[in-house]
Subunit: 315 residues, 2 copies
């Protein structure tokens, strides 16, 4: 078994809290390092083990991630916790490697138009960037997991519908250049469950024994339905954020990631043991409410609680 | 082809706006008759054809439905529109028949405990009540569709988990006594998509050529995922309410029905033509905002709009 299956066991489900990165990507007011640490520790106590912790991007542009090294350290100190950080160029990758982070994430846009507009580079150049990341990983001492997200994989804010064959082609190339995991991202929440299921199934086929992550946004209320379809199609790594934190730069007023608490409930209801105590997880929202009072929080479990007759751990 | 398949074609999808009944069941401030009529007419203009319009319950207890006869008349005047009203006893059924409503709905609780607590009668007595409704339908001149909902079919606010075999047994009895359609209801939003899919599949099998309705609440954020599972399992009639209007008497603070606009988007994304213009439908929310300002409205489409590259009609 290769390392990535140790991190993301293929006989179970891995749910990743991305609120500390994707959720904070656009916020004006962001929590202090101490608050982020409390957020992580309380979620860890609730059973969460996977955390996207920040980006190795210029702190001038993204001050919310200036403390990423401290947050990596916090994660590293929690037994069994796994941290992920975004790094989009060689400088960032080297910083990420130096931080000791367990997983480095990169991104390729599904469409040329979005790649040029958002990253000012071609998709081929972005893939070459991922290849370089894999080489740096191989040359490193601790060899972190490398994950490459395909943004706009299910619909593009610039061109609209996206040809799934393009996404499959990119996924193939990414596995070819050595990534441990591809993350199929519905960045702007365009898809319904049929589309998510079909694309996930195709990427799972390509991935072979490697895991496939599906990263969904709840922009049009399809997030949980899409997550359900992704699970049915064989995805075993799913992203979400506490309270659905996170806006979308391409859809003003849109909600962010799939609500993590509801995602846990969904997985448990489908028979996937998450190891997460939903009631303890919901309680962590108090931190966000107190520290980021301007951000809307979403979620059904937080409103209604667990159904009668379900224990706190098994929804 | 019997009458019910004329109303609910089995080669397509029928989406029912239940906001005017289920959505108003618990509200303190309710819209005037004129506002209800505007709500219906604007949704009709957007393509909606199925409306649950109210209850034939004592107007003293449910003043929000005192104008049910006027609303039935409004629906009857719209070509191709189909109205549904709730009637829970013989007096109500006779009033419903006299109103000329096209469909009469009754309810049986899935659990004895809930039946006794909520309706102060046994489930057997409730089924006998449905049988009487079918006899009165048969003796009537216009022979409305009879639909029997099984409330708490996917979880009970009193006893918790519900044995699906009990629900299947009740559904069998209901079809036996002559109902045209059974509506499986997740009244308190306890279920996930696996459970919804399995129960729907079983009831569809029993129903034979008759339609099966699935009535879902979004209490724990699973509404759209559950609707997707119900469609996959063969349900062709689904309920929702504009903006997810409607609380739940058994779960304070819980949201109501599945958001109608998001349900339309889901169906279109799965290849089911709904005939509904989502943008026109979303625009009708202005009526609810203006007239029922105390009620929270939900929904992704209303927040984010249609994805780029989709026409207003085909999501």
């Amino acid at each position: 078994m290769s390392r990535v299956q140790d991190v993301y066991p293929d006989d179970g489900i891995s749910l990743r809290e991305v609120g500390l990165r994707d959720g904070l990507q656009l916020v004006k007011k962001f929590p202090s390092t101490a608050v982020k640490q409390r957020w992580i520790r309380e979620e860890y106590a609730a059973g969460v083990r996977y955390f996207e912790v920040g980006s190795f991007l210029p702190a001038k542009t993204f001050p919310q991630f200036a403390d990423v090294r401290d947050i990596v350290k916090t994660i590293t100190e929690l037994p069994g916790a796994h941290g992920v950080a975004l790094a989009l160029n060689e400088r960032g990758v080297n910083e990420a490697l130096a931080s000791g982070i367990a997983e480095i994430a990169s991104v390729v846009s599904a469409t040329e138009e979005h790649s040029q507009a958002n990253a000012h580079r071609s998709r081929e150049s972005a893939i070459a960037n991922v290849k370089r990341l894999c080489e740096l990983r191989d040359a490193s001492s601790h060899k972190p997991v490398v994950n490459a997200g395909i943004s706009m994989a299910l619909g593009c804010s610039i061109v609209g519908p996206v040809d799934p064959n393009e996404v499959i082609r990119i996924a193939e190339k990414l596995y070819e250049v050595g990534v441990d995991m591809v993350a199929v991202a519905d960045t702007v929440g365009y898809a319904g469950p049929k589309q998510v299921g079909e694309l996930t199934r195709a990427v799972v086929r390509i991935a072979g024994s490697k895991p496939v992550c599906v990263h969904l946004h709840d922009t049009r209320g399809m997030g949980i339905a899409n997550a359900s379809a992704a699970l049915d199609a064989g995805a075993r790594v799913l992203d979400g954020s506490l309270g659905g934190l996170g806006g979308c730069p391409f859809a003003p007023g849109a909600t962010g990631n799939v609500v993590f608490e509801d995602l846990v409930f969904l997985c448990e209801s489908k028979g996937f043991a998450t190891g997460i105590d939903i009631e303890r997880l919901v309680a962590v929202r108090a931190i966000l409410r107190a520290e980021m009072s301007g951000e809307a929080l979403y979620g059904g479990l937080a409103r209604a609680g667990l159904p009668r007759g379900t224990s706190a751990k098994a929804a």
